[in-house]
Amino acid sequence: MKKKTTGINSFLISGAVLSALMLGLILLGLVWTPYSPTAMDGAAKFQPPSPAHLLGTDNFGRDIFSRVLQGADATFLIALCVVAVSCTLGVLLGSLCGYYGGLADLILTRICDSITAFPAVLLALVIVSLTGRGKANVIFALSLLFIPSFARLTRGEFARCRELNYVKSARLMGVSTGRILFRHILPNTLPVLLPAVTIGFNNAILSEASMSFLGIGVQPTEASLGLMLSDSQTYLQSAPWYALCTGGAVVLLILGFSLLSEGLQRRKDG
């Protein structure tokens, strides 16, 4: 009940540092890359990492560091959109269901359960094959699939808080329902919601990478970490740094947010 942060939360700090570092690189990639990510150089194919090409070059002689920066941008932006859309809608649905309960709650909860019963990437494949490929459709499909996780969590929290005395008093005071939901209850769900957002973000990065890897996400000419991983596996023997560096970028990105989420959770538990 009484929470006091004692000592240093090493998860939170290392996660924040790593995430900030990756975020810095992503922002850098938006404005500057050492080489053009699409510039091909026939003379410099499959070069191992060197001072000139920090992470080496790929099968077209393109600078892998530049492409990782750009690919991380694409992946990150997609994940950001997915989390923003699914979290907003999930919280909205979950809060209404949790607060009001009743038949609508029952039906929506069952729908969420049935969506969760399928592997996310599989359902995303189905949706994208119906709507067509491309970034926007990937965002649409993943957002839809990520709604249940946020909705379920929020629903539980709101159903718990609904019966607490401070919510009852707010009702007695005549506070409007919207204000009760978002000013009285929502701030109290943040300790649970924030770790879920970071986990959701990681899942979105992985799902996007998986979909691009399978060729239904970001389309060639653009870079994406998943797409690059897919390309690199052909050259695993001859140019292992290609796969290692691209994979490493995914790992670091996710590790940073996982640590952050773990740190947030530990802070909540005290």
């Binding site: 929470k3 005071m173 943040l190």
Partner: protein, 245 residues
Amino acid sequence: MTDGKVLEVRNLNAWYQEGPALLGGRRRRQVLFDLSFSIGAGEILGLVGESGSGKTSLSRAILGLLPDYTGEIVHRSRRPQMVFQDPYSSLNPAHTVDWILQEPLRAAGMRDAEQRRAAVAEMLEKTGLGPEYAGRYPRELSGGQRQRVSIAAAVITRPELVIADEPVSALDVTVQAQILRLLGQLQKEYKLSYLFISHDLNVIYQICSRVLVMKEGRIVEQGPVEELFSRPQHPYTRQLLAAGA
């Protein structure tokens, strides 16, 4: 006692719905039986009874939270407020004392932030907390301090009627006495009426002027505190007194 009444209840019967909401499997269970009483302006009416006697159901009915009832509940007060037993769940942990105390004023339509802050400062002083508590969070307060904040939040809009549901039961005895004194002071100062619910006859004796004794959803006895304590009529009242002594 003044002749005005803040609440009048006549022949109140109330039911709870039980069973699953779907499939029409609901049954009614009567929890309140033919209750009639009133609370005068500036009066502290005690409500005693063991748990399950219908005390909380009655307060819910008064607040309009029991839709299934017959009889009359006539309010002469705007928005009765409530002080709860558990001081830990009655304050929103995400907000400061200042925000918590301003909220009832905002809900009542007081737009001017200066005015709200002045009212909060006054309430903090009246409840014996002092201005330094404005920026604190509930988790930084003791049970007694939390209960002071809860009382301040209930009283800040000057409701005519405050329902206090076991407001001191969760506190230790010395803090109990302080909170009871505070409730008494505020009642005199702002001419409040209380419906004071408790299972503890000592507490009722200290603060109330009149008492209702409830058992199994019925009022078995009501009267002025002194009379009821010295000459209990109903065997159940005698039993309660014997147990409390």
